[in-house]
Symmetry: C2
Subunit: 282 residues, 2 copies
């Protein structure tokens, strides 16, 4: 009896260990957990997309009026239903540059693999450094600072730059800040910073809250070529970046499925773990 | 000593039980699990969206040519970049009807709460019943059959009807099957079936692989009114439904963020647990 009593605790410990080990080998299916977490408000959906209408800022070179039109073709009174037809450039509002925008051999917008449209996001915040500046250019040092806080950047993610430029939306004048020659100016990236991100992270996409990562007056577009030639897509005029944590969010980037398209207005939704756990409005 | 030895197993059991109880009360954060599962291919992304181009079927009443245009405004040779401007109706291709399409007090497309754009999907398959029929209308019995197999439908989900009509895409003639008066005909729902789904499930959205859930020649649109008046959105011309399981997928429904819009072309991406666990192409 005494021997049996001695091994009993060991047997129990073994059983518990085996049970726990089995639990971690076969991780739970994330989808039912996600449904539950969305229901309870533990995970919230955030919108990284600006509104599309006649007030939406547009690239100003060669244009003085908005290229967006929404023509009402059905009304409740006349037709019993409300409907419109749109005129809209592929590169308008919060939008995606597909690799084919600059790279004849790159994916068109409909060809971007689905796995690249749902990815984890990291946010590099430079609002303090950019404050009060007319054209701040993100440096390699800014990115190294992020790395020293958060560790190495994960690969195959989406790198987003929060510069503070988004606060100027939707003022065409303030968002595009044209110089005497008509070229726009805004916060963007140094070529070295762009190279560093591409090398360190091999991201599926790079986004920014301004009109783009290249300087507005550099018509050689060095970073558009660098990224799109590597099939990394670009997200421009990204909204709502304040709602994203530095790491941990998952983005769903949804362009229209335009056959042969160079880009598209996108809806970008983010899944964010809500530490306060408040209930959603669903 | 003997007494201590007696309680030892009980203490260990208690500790293990507490540990396990804590584990289940605080469920793991689904987002890191989702990233991992997408990386390993345990969860795959499927596309429920048809391609948008000049060949995309369009609603034929009052039209004989496509309302879609993509005008090239930049070429690699001339401009160093490729870009287009689009003409596109709000209700074109795989698209969403916002409540405001029929309901003056309903949400416009930009007003649909984000929580309703990411939801679990159930698929009701009627392809066998519809086979060979020119205009099959889903019955209450079809839905009850689904319920008898899968149990009660979850609420606040997206109900999708797979009728087989999608196989006719992108033939304008076969997809719209106009009668002598010009009205289109396609697989749709009986009014009773629509009522039953609304009552049983209170879905955030209802979708179908045909042009709509109402009969094409019924210009009173009873089911559009019933659903949109209850702020349930509609998804029309949904593609790729073969890739969805009957239950368990999560959909991300992404319309353009059109201020005051009655609807929009949508990208619909689905997250599906892949039982075979094959590696993704990422």
């Amino acid at each position: 009896m005494r021997n049996l009593r001695d091994v009993r605790p060991i047997l129990l410990l073994l059983a518990c260990t085996l049970f726990l080990a089995k639990g971690s080998a076969q991780e739970p299916d994330p989808l039912p957990l996600l449904v539950k977490a969305l229901d309870s408000g533990r995970i919230v959906v955030v919108d990284l997309t600006h509104m599309l209408d006649e007030e939406t800022p547009y690239w100003p070179e060669g244009r003085t009026v908005t290229p967006f039109k929404a023509k009402v073709v059905g009304t409740y009174e006349r037709n019993g239903l409300f409907a419109r037809e749109l005129e809209i450039p592929e590169h308008f509002g919060t939008h995606i540059d597909a690799p084919a925008h600059f790279n004849p051999h790159g994916w068109t917008v409909a060809e971007i693999p689905l796995e690249r449209l749902i990815a984890q996001a990291i946010v590099i915040d430079v609002t303090q450094a950019a404050k009060g500046q007319e054209e701040y250019r993100v440096t390699v040092e800014d990115i190294k600072k992020w790395e020293s806080t958060h560790g190495a950047m994960p690969s195959a993610g989406i790198v987003l730059f929060r510069t503070g430029w988004g606060k100027r939306w939707p003022s065409q004048k303030e968002f595009m800040k044209q110089d005497a020659k008509g070229s726009p100016h805004f916060h963007c990236l140094t070529v070295e910073a762009g190279r560093y991100v591409m090398k360190q992270m091999k991201p599926v996409g790079i986004g920014i809250d301004s009109p783009g990562i290249d300087r507005g007056d550099d018509h050689t577009y060095p970073l558009h070529h660098l990224t799109l030639d590597a099939n990394t897509y670009l997200l421009e005029n990204v909204g709502g970046l304040e709602a994203l944590p530095d790491t941990g969010a998952i983005l769903v980037v949804s362009p229209m499925k335009l056959a042969g398209g160079s880009g598209s207005p996108v809806r970008i939704l983010g899944l964010v773990t809500n530490p306060s756990g408040r209930l959603s409005s669903k």
